[in-house]
């Protein structure tokens, strides 16, 4: 039996067979394509997941670094404020020291030269001192002594002759005598931070009894 006929083979059978083959190839291609697409999607999904994890990690890192930077900035600001306060306190301390020096110099000089200190005014880096001396000579000696004690030259800004109503050892009771009213001026260390320039310390008449011998 070498020859096998099938009357259904031509023309429809062969056509159907080819169609079946093409359909098989198409389906195989479709399945293959779908498998490849699925595999590709899996790879993309895995990579996306990895990248998202990396992104989250970097975002957390960035947040942490931002917080650190903010803290560092805050620390720097705090340091600056602290430094300013420290400087200010140092100035205040210097001024207190200077004030104490002036106070000591005035207390020492008043009984020695017979000066009656009336007013001490400190403003904008300037020191102004008003006093009455019994005479010009004592006034000059006192000014020189005060200049030496304070480490600066006190310039005479005003000089008047006045009648003093106070008691003195060389005047009769109830009779005034002549005295010299002098105003000295000098430099005063200014407060640069925190302190208002016009926040001057005024030492009015209240000082006079303290400064008086």
């Amino acid at each position: 039996m070498s020859v096998e006929f099938n009357l259904l083979r031509y023309p429809a059978g062969v056509r159907q067979e080819r169609l079946r083959q093409q359909l098989g190839v198409f389906l195989a291609g479709l399945v293959g394509t779908l498998l490849l697409a699925w595999a590709g999607l899996q790879v993309v999904a895995m990579r996306t997941s990895t990248l998202q994890q990396e992104l989250r990690r970097l975002q957390a890192l960035a947040t942490q670094q931002q917080a650190q930077a903010k803290a560092a900035q805050q620390r720097a600001q705090d340091g600056q404020v602290r430094q300013r306060l420290q400087n200010h306190l140092m100035r205040v301390s210097q001024q207190q020291q200077a004030l104490a020096d002036v106070h000591a110099a005035l207390q020492d000089e008043a009984p020695r030269s017979g000066l009656k200190f009336q007013r001490l005014h400190i403003e904008s880096g300037r020191l102004e001192l008003q006093a009455q001396a019994p005479d010009a000579q004592r006034m000059g000696l006192a000014g020189q002594a005060l200049s030496e004690r304070l480490g600066q030259t006190l310039a005479v800004a005003g000089l008047n002759e006045v009648v003093s109503s106070g008691e003195s050892h060389d005047t009769r009771p109830g009779v005034g005598h002549l005295a010299v009213a002098v105003t000295w001026q000098g430099a005063w260390p200014a407060l640069q931070t925190g302190a208002r320039p016009d926040a001057a310390r005024r030492m009015g008449g209240g000082h006079e009894p303290a400064l008086a011998p």
Binding site: E4, F5, N6, L7, L8, A12, Q21
Partner: protein, 264 residues
Amino acid sequence: MQALAQFWRHMTTRPVRRAFGLAPLGQAWALVALSRQGADLARVQASTVVEPPASLLDVQVHARVWRQALAAMALTVNPADAAGERSDNLTFRALQILRGADHRLQLAWPTERVVRGQLTFPLDWPDDDCTAEVQLAVAQALRCTPQEVNFDWQVQAGGDGLVRQVVWVGCARDELAEFKRHLRAAHWALSSVEPEMQAAQRAAGALQGGLSSLLTRPSQDWLFRLRPETVVAEPVEAGEVEQVLFSPVGPRLVACGLALKAWL
């Protein structure tokens, strides 16, 4: 691609347990069911004769007769499931549904309705050209247009190497199409259609006990060997087969030969 085709075949086919052959028996048809017995034997499980009305014009009656006959055969061979053989192979079942067929059938077309001939072609002719030439030859033999024929051709062995000698057979398409419609209405489908002689030769070659057993045994006891090496062990002369073909048992033998195609 080869592996893919093999996989596809595996998915869409299954071991055949039962096969059907339908052969012309005068104005009637002999329908035979063979069932497999073990690895290398098949026996006749059921046999019947279908007698459609003589008039081919009565289409409704024809269809009803075929439906009844084929349903009776299905019930005979598989009483548990008369609607058809169910399969666990879902792919196969899906294809069955798509085909609209529960059973597949091999058919022998009556010799008087088949034309045959030979043609010679140059060796370098493509198959498509040979097919077109054969189609023209068949149409000429049947005296109809080329679109109205069914045919097949095979290269004849033992050529001189210079030309290609082909043998062709053909039949009118309309008659076959009508027949296919009847079968489809009964949820059966045609696997192949072949000349009677071809099926008879196949059956005679596989028949256990040779052609003489046709006379000594009733058709229900015919046994056929399915292994090719045992099939060719007892060569049968073409003349003897032709004699049997025109004997009373010829149509049943042809139907058996058709069914055997499922395994051979």
